[in-house]
């Protein structure tokens, strides 16, 4: 047996360690404690009486942003330029800090207590920051909404007509149980982060998980790569504290000293635990409740306003007249529609031979209002998506293209036969030519839907 020395001397902080620590301390404090005034502007813009998951989501996705003006609708994502500004600020701050402490005589123990204490504070702040950030994304997967099942229009869009980011999204959307599982994994790592002793294990989990998300963002042209890096950087600081311990015990197989720093709280231990438990409960309950509420309303990706009654489905364009001349089926004619999808909500999508310039939106955003919900139309070229309002007295649909690249694509159509298998549309297209469209419903069974329905745990092929 090895003779053990159980009295651990104070950790001797070298001058270099102290300097690096000062920079990192200020850097990560600025990165994780909300100091950006825009954050509060947005927070005050929230209608707390009518709270939605989106409000919590953006509060949890804080990153200091100096370079982008931002808007009150969404809280954006910082870029590497912002990081540089934070780093410069931190370096200047560290120099000032060093200047203040210069020339003062501190005992080694005092220095250890001060810096170990600050290290503890920094880790505590980062642990909670990271846990909240992860939890915000966990709940929209536990209630599988982040990647929804593809809508009818998307089912009728060719595979090659989606961007890679869109493909990645609906590939998860078809398997909600997998999406939910990923959500639970995220929540587990958030929970481990909240406890001091399991924080490093939680951080390792989070780094692995978010590292994978980071590479998916790179591999599929996602827009949240920098945010992933941000979260990973927080995780690394948390893990670093115990990293050598793990290495020593598990790889070198040497006698290993545990963490010896015990935080000292101003209020007593039970009160602080109670406070912690209460705040966790509030966060979990609030996140869980509002996510559930959104899920119950059909998620947040697709609009919720009802469309033309009893008309949802795929329609073949049986006849198409432009300038009162019938155009036969054609895969080259620029004007002829090929097919039309009426969604359950107030969206129709039209397939023509002209590709839509895609909306390349590639970050996760949650919108309350239907007009902002662009999931169905983003990242695809194959169909033209229109949101519409119904004038039930004059039987008119007022259509507006959902794609920001086609803002001027607005027109009106007179409809008849809603609710039957034959719908007639009449009106003028955007270049003011009269059009007449005869739609015939296609009762189609989708192999994708069927393959999803196969019971997973029952033997289906015997």
């Amino acid at each position: 047996m090895t003779e053990l020395s159980l009295k651990k001397p104070a950790h001797q902080w070298s001058a270099l360690e102290i300097t690096i620590f000062r920079v990192l301390f200020i850097y990560f404090m600025i990165q994780s404690v909300p100091l950006d005034w825009k954050y509060y502007r947005n927070a005050f813009a929230i209608n707390w009486a009518d709270l939605h998951y989106r409000d919590l989501f953006y509060l949890a996705r804080y990153t200091p942003q100096f370079l982008e003006p931002g808007n009150t609708l969404t809280w954006g994502i910082s870029n590497l330029g912002d990081w540089l500004i934070v780093l410069i600020t931190a370096t200047v701050g560290a120099v000032v800090w060093g200047y203040i402490e210069q020339g003062r005589e501190y005992s080694e123990r005092f220095i250890d207590e001060r810096y170990s204490g600050l290290y503890y504070v920094l880790r505590a702040v980062l642990r909670y920051r990271l846990a909240i950030a992860i939890a915000a994304y966990a709940f929209i997967k536990i209630f599988p909404m982040q990647q929804p099942y593809p809508s009818l229009s998307l089912l009728n869009t060719n595979y090659g007509e989606f961007t890679d980011w869109k493909v990645a999204s609906f590939s998860y959307g078809v398997a909600p149980s997998y999406e939910a599982l990923l959500g639970w994994v995220e929540l587990l790592s958030a929970a481990l982060l909240l406890h001091r002793k399991t924080a490093s294990i939680g951080a390792a989990f989070a780094i692995g998980y978010i590292g994978n998300v980071f590479l998916s963002n790179l591999g599929f042209s996602g827009g949240e790569a920098v945010y992933c890096l941000y979260l990973i950087s927080l995780g690394l600081v948390i893990l670093f504290y115990d990293a050598y311990r793990f290495y020593s015990l598990l790889v070198l197989a040497k006698p290993t000293a545990p963490n010896t720093f015990q935080p000292f709280f101003l209020i007593n231990n039970y009160a602080s635990r109670l406070l912690k438990a209460a705040s966790i409960l509030i966060v979990v309950v609030a996140f869980g409740y509002f996510a559930w509420a959104d899920y119950n309303h059909g998620g947040y990706q697709y609009p919720t306003t009802s469309g033309l009654p009893n008309s949802s489905g795929l329609y073949n364009v049986k006849d198409f007249k432009r300038d009162n001349t019938s155009i036969p089926y054609s895969l080259t004619d620029g004007h002829r529609w090929q097919n039309v999808v009426f969604e359950k909500w107030n969206t129709i999508s039209i397939r023509t031979n002209i590709l839509q310039k895609p909306d390349m939106h590639n970050t996760e955003d949650i919108y309350v209002n239907d007009k902002d919900r662009i999931y169905e139309s983003a990242g695809t070229t194959g169909r033209h998506f229109y949101t519409y309002t119904i004038d039930t007295i004059n039987h008119k649909l007022l259509l507006r293209n959902k794609n920001p690249n086609s803002k001027n694509d607005v027109f009106a159509l007179q409809y008849s036969g809603a609710g039957t298998d034959h719908i007639l549309l009449k009106g003028t297209d955007i270049s003011h030519h009269p059009i007449y469209v005869e739609l015939e419903k296609v009762h189609k069974t989708y192999v994708l839907d069927e393959s999803v329905k196969i019971p997973r745990y029952r033997s289906a092929f015997e």
Partner: protein, 536 residues
Amino acid sequence: MTVKPESYSADITVWKGYQKILFRISFIFFITMSIPTGVEWYNRTLALDWFHPNYRDIYDIARFLPDMPFIDHYQKGFKSYNDWLVLFIIAIIGGLIWTAFDRKRKEYNNLYYWLRVIVRYRAGIGMVGFGMQKVFPVQMAFPPIGILNTPLGDIPMQKLYWWEIGISPYYQVFTGFVELTAGLLLFHRKTTFFGAVLLIVALGCVNYVNIAYDGNVHVYSTYFVVFGLFLLVYYARDLYHLQIKEQFTVPQHYYPSFSKGWKYTRIGLKSLNIFIFLILLIPLQYLNFVYDPYNQPSAPGVAQLRGYYRVTEFKLNNKVIPFSPVDSVRWQDAAFEKWSSLSFKINLPVPENIAERMPDPKVRRYVDNTGFGFNSGAPQRDIDRTYEALASNRRAFYYRVDTLNHVLYMQDKSTYLNAKDSLRSQSKDPRDRIYAEDWISKDALKNMVGEVEAIPSWGRSTRRTRAYSKKSPKDKLRDHMVLKYTALNNGERVILSGLNENSDSLYVVLEREKKNYAIPTIKLVAGSKTYKTKEQ
């Protein structure tokens, strides 16, 4: 600052009673799990031609699952784990008998050490095998032209996940490195903990993906996760005491002392392992990647025909059929892949509720055609590599080509499980002449590249050659077509004429369409040295 006055060190010289019982059961269980118990493994390993190996030969050395005699095998559901249950019961009974006969024993440190060695290497070679197929990204293929022009709703969900990874080869390479790293870390005693953690994370995902997306390796991936968990148990106590109890922890490990003979045996075995699973496997996997990517057919397609085509004219028995999206006979498009496949879109409405009517033979026949059936990486012949082909409202044919007379001899990629179809080859009806044994005449054969020789010699292997030399009974169930092609203006316009699968005369004019896909094209393409000519 307080220092806890305790330290922790496990006593490994005397094991507790329950530890000994658990160990005995685990020992029997994991040893049996780690040894190939099926005859099939021995047959194929003995048949391996070490002079012309295929990457899959090496992969297959590491591919086996417990195979208990006298019980049925299942592909899906909990009952597909039935071998394990039998094995587990045997292990419990064996462990208890062992306990009765070995009461005086204080510890099993030596046996435990060797059990961990076996488990480590068993898991390690499997992980290296998994990882290599993605490090050289062939496991998930980029969707072919036909699929790029197929509506999302016509694609079964299993394909969606696999193709999703296929469109991002660099992401696939990353996932491959995760698995490969796990394997390499498991080959090394000191890094076992991290290897096991990586294994559990990676294969845990693979496992759930296979359940959620109806894949077919859920049992095999669970197998590795169980191995990984077993390896982690060893560290759990120490880690708990260091991190949660915050005690000074002195890990206790047992290492056997090696005699000289053992030392050389050990070095020899280790080197053999490294030789087979790294030094040999890497170049083989590379050759597979560039010459014979196993999830897509490898024989190159006719160079000037490649691309996506509109069907501008369609005549059946000399009767023009105008374009209509609802017509069930007329082709709506045609896609010639860079390999020897032609697929075309056609309106074949899927029957309702096929998911609930699986046992119905009519539906089953349909489902086989539309891609519910998943095929693994095993098929060697191009015609059996259906991974690229299956989607509803689209039919795909494998073709061989008489390059002198410009004739395509086409066989359906899917096989209707209909016994009647197998009789077509003996039919006396002149209409069925395209189904006769000699449907490709000797003269035509002279103008064809052999199926084995279709890829450069570096890509050929005994495994592949053997597959082509065997007659597959499934081939009698395939539809045939024989079509003469005329490629005008370097394939911008193509005329196909001949006999279709019902021996009706077919005349089709195709116009090549320059497609502008939203899906990004990729640079890291499998099969680059086989297909050679650039994609259209």
